[in-house]
């Protein structure tokens, strides 16, 4: 082979490499995930169902701690026994921001669904869930209000509590109207958490159950009774009938983070000691929801011997709303309308299920009794703090350490407001 020939050959090979190397394009789509335009209604709906569980454990813990239902002894993070018990929740801390953000992520999916113009059934589902997610954030932030504008524009004011609760109510009504026009079935599947609520007609009962909760919060008790009449309330039914978050260990699924083995040598979620001292004798709800441990755990100068047992495994479901709450909502509406006999009937159904004798309600004891039943029936379901707050009884909650305080609301996350805003109380 001559040198010249060899050089030519070399040049040829090199130019071939050059051309080949230049072929691969720089323009390609995300190798890891799809974009909104490409995905189906079903995957958005399932994403909503899955997303509603995000940070739910944090929400339940914080509402539980604020309402002095529980302590959360977290050795790895001082905040559960710190800022919220001290009364200074951090507007940038994860206890504030993570549940809030997760709810708005679900709402984003609801908005994508509505934008898809996929029919009344899809819209009715999306609006109902959107309203529910807003309600959870309003429960968290209370007088600080929530965002009803999703543009991300910080100059748009935060909606007040009154504006927000009205908007939630309206959204539920719109959802109901859509559901009534949605035909016999949804064009998507729901999980077992919505078993019995997976047609538009049945789902509408869930919608009304949520609206009953909203009406009671607003104090419009006659509306609440109307809502309840259209809901799945059933005095003869099982108290646990209702709508749930379900958990699983399948691919990409989520397990129930509230689960802890109550027999473990160290348990983080511990009942507040007053949950034992205030329980009526033989209240079966007490034994069902906490386990008395020996020895007691002392952590950060707080002591408890009550291991919370709200779940029995990491795939246990957690309630969104259930029959027992609806009975207590009807009782509350009747108390609000001073119909104590009707109220007592529902309360006594709940008491009988807990192995307790019937009570008679009067104007003097009705609210106390109602709050007692709600505390023990709905332990760690995200209610106690909100209930006590509704009746202006936060000051009656126990203070465990001299410098602790009860907080009324969580602050608006600092990223939602222009510099200097927000702030908890």
């Amino acid at each position: 082979m001559t040198n010249k020939f060899r050089n030519k050959l070399l040049l040829l090979i090199l130019s071939a490499i050059f051309v080949l190397a230049g072929c691969e394009t720089l323009d390609f789509s995300n190798p890891n995930a799809p974009i909104v335009d490409d995905v189906t209604v079903q995957s958005l709906v399932s994403g909503i169902e899955a997303g509603m569980r995000l940070e739910w454990a944090i929400y339940l813990r914080v509402v539980g701690i604020n309402g002095r239902e529980v302590y959360y002894f977290e050795p790895a993070d001082p905040r559960y026994t710190g800022e919220i018990l001290f009364g200074t929740p951090d507007p940038g801390g994860f206890l504030t921001t993570r549940p809030w953000s997760a709810r708005y992520r679900v709402i984003a999916n609801c908005r994508f669904l509505i934008d898809k113009n996929a029919g009344a059934g899809v819209n009715g589902f999306a609006k109902t869930i959107q309203a529910y997610q807003l309600l959870l954030n309003l429960n968290y932030m209370y007088d600080n209000g929530i965002k009803l504008d999703y543009s991300g524009d910080l100059t748009v004011a935060v909606a007040s509590r009154a504006q927000a609760i009205d908007a939630i109510h309206d959204l539920l009504d719109e959802g109901l109207a859509d559901l009534k026009n949605a035909g016999a079935s949804f064009p998507f599947r729901l999980t077992s958490g919505f078993a019995g609520f997976d047609t538009p007609a049945q789902f509408a009962k869930f919608n009304r159950a949520l609206n009953a909760r909203v009406s009671v919060y607003r104090g419009v008790y006659d509306h609440a009774l109307e809502d309840l009449a259209e809901s799945f309330l059933n005095p003869a039914g099982a108290l646990n009938d209702g709508v749930y978050h379900v958990y699983g260990t399948g691919l990409g699924d989520q397990t129930n983070e509230t689960f802890e083995n109550p027999e473990a040598s160290f348990v983080k979620l511990m009942g507040h000691p007053t949950f034992a001292t205030n329980a009526e004798a033989n209240d079966q709800r007490f034994a069902r929801k906490v386990k008395v441990r020996n020895p007691a755990t002392t952590f950060d100068n707080l002591t408890s011997n009550l291991g919370a047992t709200i779940t029995t495994s990491s795939t246990d479901r957690l309630p969104i709303i259930r029959n027992e709450e609806l009975l207590l909502l009807r009782a509350e509406a009747n108390i609000g309308l001073q119909r104590y006999t009707e109220a007592a009937a529902d309360i006594n159904i709940v008491r009988a299920a807990a192995g307790l004798p019937a009570v008679t309600l009067t104007a003097a004891n009705a609210v106390d009794q109602l709050l007692y039943e709600r505390r023990y029936s709905l332990f760690m379901e995200g209610h106690r703090w909100i209930d006590v707050r509704r009746y202006n009884r936060l000051s009656q909650l126990p203070i465990d350490r001299a410098t602790d305080k009860i907080i009324t609301s969580m602050p608006i996350p600092e990223t939602e407001v222009l510099e200097g805003g927000g702030g908890g109380r």
Binding site: A33, V39, S43, E74, N109, D253
Partner: protein, 987 residues
């Protein structure tokens, strides 16, 4: 012998030559190049005719021959790596011997200036730091980056964790980004290597990312750790933009160019080196001693009962957990040899290192073959092949939300409680493994975890590259070379984590036992075409023009499988109740080109100018080319008589350059991510919104400085001031979560970083038997955010009250803030993570057969957020707890952060080595001439640390290699000191 003597000899020699052969028509010079110290021939030395493009290199015996038709006399320029360059005048046909002297002050080094060109350091117009093999591995280092520490001005090498296998941050010239990539580009023999820090998956056990922070916290090692430092010939650090501009939008963190050892023609030389030693804990932090009363106060009635049952003993858990004397072993063998046409370098390494925690360690097996072949007089082919297998076991350390990591768990273990054995003080035994009791005060028993948990990483890596050098055209004045360079870096990384079901925290899970299997496959490839033309006009003007195209591709695929509910004794992921899977791909491609001109006037004035343009798939607009210009100038004033009374060399220089930093390859995409439920596939918006306009961050840097060589070449001083203006800062400001997104990557601000680098080298003693070389490197840098188009925000750390960093106009980006606010409600600055200055002092002393070298490294200032102390405070086990200090810190937790912010200053004896070279005569007689040389020695790394910092080591970063958010301590794997005995010999 003094330099003056040598010059005198040369002058005499050239006179003699000139007198004899004045009128010869053809220059035909032959000769020998030798090393002055040994008088042995130096193979591979370069011999060039000054003012022309003609030249050759010496053969196996150091001999050479140059012919130049039409020339009667010329100046030979003889150079060799590690030796001073010498010029010799020659005439006609002559035979010369040129003795080269070792270049301890690096005055004759050749430094790269582009992808195909280089220049002698004496002309260089910007600050490029270099280190040679001897300086690199004077004390054995586990990984390459560790060996770089303290050796350059302007380079900060800081470890994230002391865990075996690395996790080290290399920062060149201060903060040049807020949230962009931070690590320099590593180029080894022309291959851009992958330096990703791939998460191991340990986060899924510790849930470290679960609550306070969304940033991965597995403290992984970065993959440059795989490179074997023993194979390296030189490292060139292109710190500034003017030097690195040729690498365009990947170069704003600087470029580290590594050249491995090459073969030499002649007799095959085999070098063997054996090191053995041990690791031990560098520093203890101590623990609280309890009484019955304090035990009760801390842990309630149960605490008192446990204390009394234990008899009030004090167990030193630091001894138990971190007290192993890990055995170290390193065997390194290399062979060099070849013929005049083909040379090879072959090397192998076996390193085995046990950590200071039981069951932790690091192993590396590396092999390399470098071949250089002359296809013809005009075509040279170089091929490099490298295989590495590295394995590490790192235990479980650092931040944790499940209290399973060693540091956290020990923080909650009072010294009276014996969790090491069953029933010593009536603890409940673990029914699944009765040898270990259940920890009554913490969710896990760390001793049990240490003994049975696996956190193993295995990397198999192949690096291959080729360079074809084709001299297309060659005359006495002109020279045109075509250079093709291509390389591939391929590795597979397996991370296997097994958390057996019998562990205390697993027993309490509803699916006890976890097995995590991660597989990462990464391929980096690049292809460069370069054309380099040089023109030389009889000694006054030398022009080098070069241009080229670059293609760079990156492809990484990471799959992580998480199995829960393990079948007892089993670790396969299908032997479990449930499996989850995660996958992430990174695809990135770049296309670029450059042109560059270098002008050398009489070797006195040197000017360069160039531009690189490149497009990347990571940019929002993939077809858009971004341009990065550079220019520099230097003048050797001493050659014009300036300061020449005491300076042999005085060269002011000025350089300007621009470089970029690419956005993360996923920053431009708005995506939905999987969130499944009940067997239905669901999607939710990713928390990050894509930005389709994202583009590279740009650093514009001006550097000014001078290099001086003084006092008859007994001292060299290099001073550089640099100022970077960084624009289009890559930031990920928070979005209001009500929009459905939490953040977005934007180009949103400007920053100014400036600094000073001073490097002083002296040889106070220089004689045949006694040599002392000493080098001081001083470095200081500071940064300021000058403009922010997004709202000021906090970055890094876990929460404001736990210490975070403030990104705000007018502040340094490494400003630490906490819960404290001033009267106007603004967060008070509580410290700054950037050190006040860094100073290193490197010494090498030769006394006859003895050689002593040591390296001190001093960091002054630079604050650390010590959350490790908060952990032990919360656990009630901090050593100073009973002084009331901890109670004071805790009582203001949430409103005061300053008590957990500490000064991170330190002085460390990084390296120390003492070697004895057995006299040649003894070696010869002892081994019958079979052994050519023999060296014995001791060495150590991190032997001493002086610091007021109360954690294990102020060199720490829970969040790994981030720009902002370093120096957050959540009890990592503690640092160790290592000691070695070594023997090395040649065959």
């Amino acid at each position: 012998m003094k330099i003056a003597d040598r010059k005198w000899l040369l002058v005499v020699a050239s006179f003699l030559v000139c007198a004899n052969l004045v009128m010869a028509q053809e220059l035909n010079v032959s000769g020998t190049v030798t090393a002055r110290e040994s008088d042995e021939g130096l193979p591979g030395a370069n011999v060039k005719l000054k003012g022309t493009t003609l030249g050759t290199s010496t053969d196996a015996n150091g001999k050479f021959r140059v012919q130049a038709p039409g020339m009667s006399q010329a100046t030979l320029v003889v150079s060799f790596i590690g030796y001073r360059t010498v010029e010799v005048s020659v005439t006609g046909s002559q035979d010369v011997t040129v003795a080269l002297e070792e270049d301890v002050l690096k005055l004759s080094e050749v430094v790269v200036t582009g992808l195909a060109t280089s220049v002698a350091r004496q002309n260089l117009a910007n600050a490029v730091a270099t280190v040679t093999s001897a300086e690199l591995v004077s004390a054995p280092a586990q990984t390459l980056e560790r060996a770089l520490g303290g050796k350059f001005a302007g380079v900060n090498v800081s470890q994230n964790t002391g865990a075996p296998g690395g996790g080290i941050n290399v920062d060149l010239r201060g903060t040049s980004t807020i949230e962009g990539g931070t690590q320099p580009l590593y180029v080894i023999d022309g291959v851009i290597i992958n330096n990703a820090a791939n998460q191991s998956g340990i986060d899924l056990v510790t849930a470290a990312t679960g609550a306070g922070s969304a940033n991965p916290q597995g403290q992984p090692s970065n993959r440059v750790a795989d490179i074997n430092p023993n194979e390296i010939e030189t490292i060139e650090v292109l710190k500034g933009s003017s030097a690195a501009a040729i690498y365009g939008s990947k170069a704003s963190n600087g470029v580290i160019i590594i050249t491995t050892k090459q073969g030499t023609s002649g007799k095959t030389r085999i070098e063997v080196s054996q090191q053995v030693g041990f690791n031990s804990l560098l520093k203890k932090i101590g623990a609280r001693k309890f009484t019955a009363a304090t035990a009760e106060a801390q842990y309630g009635a149960n605490g008192k009962a446990l204390f009394e049952k234990s008899g009030g003993q004090f167990i030193d858990y630091e001894d138990i957990m971190y007290g192993e004397n890990g055995f170290l072993n390193e065997t390194s063998v290399s062979a060099r040899g070849g013929s005049d046409r083909t040379q090879f370098y072959l090397s192998g390494l076996l390193r085995d290192e046990n950590g200071i925690i039981k069951n932790s360690g690091y192993q590396k097996y590396a092999g390399r073959l470098n071949l250089n072949h002359k296809l013809s007089d005009r075509i040279k082919l170089d091929a490099y092949f490298n295989y590495v297998r590295s394995e590490s076991d790192r235990g479980i350390t650092g931040n944790d939300n499940t209290n399973t990591s060693f540091g956290f768990s020990l923080g909650f273990t009072p010294s009276f409680l014996d969790i090491t054995s069953t029933n010593r003080n009536g603890l409940t035994p673990n029914p699944d493994n009765p040898a270990y009791p259940l920890h009554p005060l913490n969710p896990s028993n760390p001793i049990h975890t240490r003994d049975v948990l696996t956190n193993h990483e295995l990397v198999n890596r192949t690096l291959g590259s080729m360079r074809l050098h084709w001299n297309i055209w060659n005359t006495a004045k002109q020279n045109l070379n075509f250079i093709v360079q291509t390389g591939v870096d391929y590795y597979s990384q397996e991370n296997a984590i097994v958390s057996p079901p019998e562990l205390q925290y697993e027993r309490n899970s509803s699916q006890p036992g976890a097995s995590l299997l991660g597989e990462t496959v990464s391929t980096n490839s690049n292809l460069y075409f370069n054309l380099a033309h040089s023109y030389a006009s009889s000694g006054t003007l030398n022009l080098q023009t070069s241009a080229g195209f670059q293609f760079e591709n990156q492809n990484l695929n990471n799959v992580l499988n998480e199995a829960r509910g393990l079948i007892v004794t089993q670790t396969n992921i299908d032997q479990a109740a449930s499996v989850n899977a995660y996958q992430d791909r990174v695809i990135q491609r770049e296309r670029g080109f450059y042109v560059q001109e270098e002008i050398n006037l009489s070797d006195k004035i040197y000017l360069t100018g160039g531009i690189r343009g490149d497009a990347s798939s990571a940019n929002g607009e993939v077809d858009k080319y971004f341009f990065y210009p550079k220019a520099s100038a230097s003048i050797r004033l001493a050659q014009y008589g300036v300061l020449s009374s005491f300076a042999n060399e005085f060269k002011p220089r000025i350089a300007y350059g621009e470089t970029g930093n690419l956005p993360n390859s996923s920053a431009k995409f708005t995506s939905l991510i999987p969130r499944n439920i009940g067997g239905l596939a669901g999607l939710l918006p990713a928390t990050r919104r894509g930005n389709s306009n994202i583009q590279p961050e740009r650093t514009k840097e001006l550097e000014l400085g001078f290099d001086a060589v003084m006092f008859s070449e007994h001292a060299s001083l290099s001073f550089t001031y640099f100022r970077q203006n960084i624009s289009d800062l890559l930031l990920s400001p928070s979005l209001p979560p009500s929009s459905g997104f939490e953040d977005e990557v934007v180009n949103g601000g400007k920053m100014k970083t400036q600094g000073v680098e001073v490097s002083l080298g002296v040889t106070p003693l220089k004689s045949r038997n006694l040599n002392w070389t000493s080098r001081l490197n001083f470095y200081k840098t500071s940064s300021e955010i000058t403009e922010l188009t997004v709202d000021p925000f906090n970055l890094g750390g876990f929460a404001t009250f736990l210490g975070t960093f403030r990104i705000e106009e007018g502040l340094s980006p490494t400003t630490i803030i906490g819960a404290e606010r001033d009267a106007s409600g603004k967060n008070k600055a509580l410290g700054n993570e950037t050190p006040d200055f860094q100073l290193s002092w490197n010494n090498s002393l030769n006394l006859g057969a003895f050689e002593l070298s040591f390296l001190w490294d001093w960091k002054e200032g630079g604050d650390v957020i010590n959350l490790g102390k908060l952990i032990t405070d919360l656990g009630g086990t901090t050593e100073d707890y009973d002084t009331g200090a901890a109670a004071k810190r805790l009582s203001v937790l949430g409103s005061q952060t300053v008590s957990y912010i500490e000064d991170g200053s330190y002085i460390k004896l990084r390296e120390l080595s003492l070697n004895f070279t057995v006299p040649r005569s003894s070696v010869m007689s002892l081994f019958n001439g079979q052994v050519s040389h023999l060296k014995l020695g001791v060495s150590g790394r991190n032997l001493l640390m002086k610091t007021d910092y109360t954690g294990y080591d102020p060199e720490v970063s829970q969040f790994g290699n981030v720009s902002i958010g370093r120096s957050v301590d959540t009890i990592p794997f503690p640092s160790s000191r290592s000691m070695y005995f070594n023997v090395s010999f040649g065959l």
